[in-house]
Symmetry: C2
Subunit: 356 residues, 2 copies
Amino acid sequence: MPAFAEDHVGPLGSPISSGARRPTMRDVAKRAGVSLKSVSRVVNKEPGVSPSLLESVRRAIEELGFHPNVGASSLRRADGKTATVGLLLEDIANPHFSAVQRAVEDLALPRGIMVFAVSHDSDPRREIALARALITRRVDGLILVPANEDQSHLAAEMQAGTAVVCVDRRCTGLDADCVVTTDETGSAEGVRHLIDVGHRRIAFLGPRSVLPTCRQRYRGYRNALETHGIRIDPELVLVDLNSTAAADGAVSALLAHPCPPTALFTAQNLLTIGAIRALRRRGLEGSVALVGFDDFPLADLLSPGVTVVAQDPTASGRTAAEVLFGRLSGDTSPARVHVVPTNLVRRGSGEIPPPG
Amino acid sequence: MPAFAEDHVGPLGSPISSGARRPTMRDVAKRAGVSLKSVSRVVNKEPGVSPSLLESVRRAIEELGFHPNVGASSLRRADGKTATVGLLLEDIANPHFSAVQRAVEDLALPRGIMVFAVSHDSDPRREIALARALITRRVDGLILVPANEDQSHLAAEMQAGTAVVCVDRRCTGLDADCVVTTDETGSAEGVRHLIDVGHRRIAFLGPRSVLPTCRQRYRGYRNALETHGIRIDPELVLVDLNSTAAADGAVSALLAHPCPPTALFTAQNLLTIGAIRALRRRGLEGSVALVGFDDFPLADLLSPGVTVVAQDPTASGRTAAEVLFGRLSGDTSPARVHVVPTNLVRRGSGEIPPPG
DNA sequence: CTGTTAGCGCGTTCAT
DNA sequence: ATGAACGCGCTAACAG
């Protein structure tokens, strides 16, 4: 009669065969000579276990190298919680979003919650497909940066008990908490700063124009100009720029204009960088003013330093996570909008005066 | 008799009550008037389902807003696969690692695999605790940046069938695939470049000295100097720098030395940035040469541009993911070391000659 | 082509 | 304080 795989045990009783089945609570129970339920109690730190039983179960767990299966656990558990949350961002490789991710991670891990992070690249279909994939994983909660103009596709899921929090942009068609920043007033402040320095021809460079954030930042730009009686020149407004390269090209085109802008306001960090590249190539980084929305690493080390309307992505991520975990802990108060303020950081590029 | 929650249905038959139980395959089966197994076949796209049955099941799924539960699925499934992988990095907020993460994501999502990403901050205990947490989630595979000097804590898990791939640093005590870069020869190339420019007093700034990568990069530094008959001055070798600020301080101290270095070699991207800050504060960025290991965004836009020994974190992430998914698809060939080459990128800071 | 039965690993419910 | 039975949502192995 051939030996069974379970018979091949090493010094500590750990299985050695390559196809080793993972030990289960039953295996632990058998080895400790107790019932399955007692093992469950020990694993879940339920009170009311005798010290001797606890000790023998602990030993069996150690000897077998047992690791509980959270999937099976959450399947059976009354509240159905999986102790996982989904984080649906635009692009995790963008420092803005990796800061958000890190902040969420820092609140999640101490609670034993793990994070599925995915990028939708501002593609509305990806937002929906990835949200579905996360739902399929039964995440307890979902933090997302809306890409669609409408998030009602998540309504049924919220009904079913999944907590949802939006970051950076507020959602529509969904009664969820939102963590946003002062897009409009922040942009207005940045543009007003350029006006104060003396500029009148200020270009606006924005990302996908359907995005609410883009619209709000544009509104801030428009308000600032109008407040100061400056007419908006449509030729100085360029949107739907979806990459650094696109911004670079747009700025190059602007500068070739017969009456070029004397200052640029870029509504997103990648576009700011594209604008800097274009200015550099022409040696104009010291003569054309620039204010960008959203800070980025090393902005202070460039020459000139880049003046920005800084968001605080770490604070946004932290706030979103706090709100989400509050919901998961039973907070049923009405959904709110949480505002994380921006602040203008003067570093040089925004203080360049117009020529003449 | 009170109405049951299930009785409250909206226009499409979707549950409206707030405690709405999520529809299961049984609910779909009942509504479509077929067996549970038929629903399973449709959901898993198994062949051999009549068009009419497929259609009615599809409709029921749509009407109920059914989403399969992968947790339950993988629990029952023969291979036990969860379609999730773990990514255990040093710090997801560091652009080097977020590039790795993005590359892994780009290969995972098309396969229906989701990624748990976590940061261990080079803390050995965190590496172990987080690996355990991931194992508890039954990830099919694990990509990790080793923080410990030994990874044997994962041996039992590999035995049990979890695929493991190490990135950036090779593992010890574990027979796993590794994706590494040319730390030693790349560093030697960077230092040799400084020597070629005429430098003799070249400082080495490194992170935690116990890290194999730090040691290998130091070895490259030493080899390059020795090859050119330059004696190593221990006062110019500073390690265990764990942050931008630490590097900043170290460089400040070096420059206060009576016979300061004329060039710096920084063995990690955060340290490179710290060094730049220190040089800037003294207005020395144009007179002290600098070569950094690992590229970073905007390195080309600084003045002078930062010469680096560039790694390709996207390639590393892609390679690691390819190897991992190969293992998950049944590749049982012996574990290998995969090398992603570095290359020297001259941008100005490394071409500054010594004074005189 | 379709359905029936069994049970994955675990927490709940209720008995002892 | 401990345990037996049951079933969470789903797929595997078989039967028809």
